[in-house]
Symmetry: C3
Subunit: 214 residues, 3 copies
C-alpha cells in the first residue's frame, strides 16, 4: 500500500476544518439575525460558535497558544462568511438542507482535530473521546445559550453520538498501529456517514427512561 504523505492528510483535515468553521459561522449568523443582533453581535456569536469548542478544549488541556490566536485564517474566514451571510440573509435562510452537508463535514473535522490534540497530550481514551465531542459541539452550545435556546445538540439527533463513535474507532485503529493518515481520513468518512444517515433516516437516541407505573 502506497503511503499517503502525512502532510497531505493534515492539509485535507485543515480544509475540512475550515469547512466546519464555514458551516458553524453560517448557522451562528442565521441564529444571530433571528435574535435581532447587529453586525458586531453576529460576528462575535459566529466566532464563539465556530471556535468555542476548540477553545474550551485547549483551555482544559492547558494547550497554548489557543489555536486561533496565532492562525488568523480562522478569524478571517469567520468575518468574511458572517458578513456575506448577513448581506444575503434572505437567500441563505432557504438553504437549510445544503447546510447539513457542510455541518456534518465540520462535525467530522472538529472531532478528528480534538481527538488528535488530546492524544498528543497523552489523555486516557475516555477523555480523548470527550475532547473530540467537546471540540465538535461546545461552540454550538454556547451559541444557543447566547441566543436563549436550549442547546439543539442536547435534545435530538445522532450528533454527539457520531462524534463519540468516530473517536472510539480512531483510538482502536491507533492502538492497532494503523498509520495516522489512513486513521484520520477513515474516521472523517465514518463520522460524516453516521451523521448524514442519521439526518436522512431520522435516527434518534433511544429514551432510557422506564415507563411510569400506572
Amino acid at each position: 500500500m502506497t503511503e499517503l504523505p502525512l502532510a497531505t492528510a493534515h492539509s485535507i483535515i485543515y480544509v475540512l476544518d475550515m469547512i466546519g468553521v464555514f458551516a458553524c459561522t453560517v448557522a451562528a449568523t442565521v441564529l444571530a439575525k433571528r435574535c435581532n443582533m447587529d453586525m458586531f453581535g453576529a460576528w462575535i456569536v459566529s466566532l464563539i460558535g465556530s471556535v468555542g469548542g476548540g477553545t474550551l478544549r485547549d483551555l482544559l488541556l492547558n494547550r497554548h497558544p489557543i489555536f486561533w490566536l496565532h492562525d488568523l485564517n480562522y478569524l478571517y474566514v469567520i468575518l468574511l462568511v458572517s458578513t456575506l451571510v448577513q448581506i444575503f440573509y434572505h437567500t441563505v435562510e432557504r438553504l437549510d438542507r445544503a447546510m447539513r452537508w457542510f455541518d456534518a463535514l465540520g462535525l467530522a473535522a472538529f472531532t478528528v482535530i480534538g481527538v488528535q490534540a488530546a492524544v498528543s497530550f497523552h489523555m486516557s481514551p475516555p477523555i480523548v473521546m470527550l475532547m473530540g465531542a467537546f471540540t465538535a459541539m461546545i461552540g454550538g452550545v454556547l451559541r444557543d445559550i447566547i441566543c436563549q435556546q436550549i442547546p439543539l445538540v442536547f435534545q435530538k439527533e445522532i450528533y454527539t453520538t457520531a462524534s463519540v463513535l468516530g473517536s472510539a474507532y480512531y483510538l482502536l485503529l491507533l492502538h492497532w498501529g494503523v498509520s495516522e493518515w489512513l486513521n484520520s481520513l477513515s474516521t472523517l468518512v465514518l463520522i460524516f456517514s453516521i451523521r448524514m444517515l442519521a439526518v436522512y433516516r431520522g435516527w434518534n437516541l433511544p429514551n432510557l427512561t422506564l415507563p411510569k407505573k400506572p
Copy 2:
C-alpha cells in the same frame, strides 16, 4: 488527643466529594430530562453540573492538569449515576427530599476541596473563600443556564452563605494552627449543619433594599 492520620481525612473528603458528584449528577439529570434532552445531553449536562465549579477554579488558579482529566472516577460516577437516573427517572423524581441531604454533603465537600486548593496556591483569604464558593456552586449555575433557568443558588436559601461561613471558619482554624484533618472535618460538619438547618427552618438571607419612599 490521638492524631487521626491525614490520609484518613483525605479519604473521607474524597468519599464526600463523590457523594457531591452523585448529588449534582442526579439534580442535573432530572433537570435535563425536564428540558427534553436525550441521553448524551443528560450526560454532558451532568458532567458540567458536577465538575464545572472545580474546573473554573482550576482554570482561574492555573492549576493543571484539571482534576477530572486524570482521575477518571469522576467521569465514571457521572456516567453511571446519570444513566441510572435516566432509567428510573419517574422514581427518582419523587425523592426530592432525600436529595437535599446528599446535596448538602456535596456542598460541604466541594467547599473544603476548593478552599484547600486555593490555600495551597497561596491565595489571600477573600479569594480562598470565593474559590470555595465557586467550586460548590458554579456547576449548578452552568447547569441552570444551559436549561434556561435563572440560577437557583442566586435566588434563595442559605447555600453560598453556608459555603462562605465554612471557608471563614477553616481559615481561622488554619491561622490558629489546628491540624488539617480536624480542621477539614469540622468544616465539613459546620457547612452541612448550616445548610440543613437553613433547609428545615426555611432560612433566607435578609433583603438589604430600603423600602420605596411613598
Copy 3:
C-alpha cells in the same frame, strides 16, 4: 512637548478601570435585583459582570495570575458598591442617565487595558482589537446570560464599535512611535467620545441585510 510620566498615565487608567468596575457593578446589581436574586447572587453577578471580560482575556492569553486574584481592590470595590446599590436600589434605579457616563468611561478604560495586555503578549493587530473588545463587553454578556436576557451589546448601539475603533487608533499610534502615555490617554478620550456621541445621537450600526425580493 513635556513628557507626562508613564506612571501617571497608568494611574489615570487604573482610576478609570475602577470607574468601569463601579459602572459594571451598578448595572449588574440592578439587573440582579430585577431577577429577584438575593445578596450573594447580586455579589456574584456583579463580580462576573465586572471582571468576566478581563478574566476571559487572561485565560485566552495564558496570562497568570488572573488580575483580580492578586489585586484585591477589584473585589472590595465590587462588594462595597453592590451592597450600597442593593440598599439604595429604589434611588439608583432612577439614575439610568448618569450611569451612561460611567459606563462609557469603563468601556474606554477596559478597552485600553485589554489592548495593552494583548500587545505585551505580542498578539497580531486583529487579535489585539478582539482582546480589547472582549475585555470591555464579555462581562456584560455573561451577566445578561445569567439573567436570561439576550446580551444587550449584541443588539444595538455603537458599543463594541467604539471599542474596536479605539483599538485600531491605539495600534496606529503605537506603530508611529507615539509615546505610550499620550497614546493611552487619547485612545481613552476617543472611545469615550464615540460612545457618548452614539448615545446622544442615537447612532446605530447599519443593517447589512439586502431587502427580501418580492
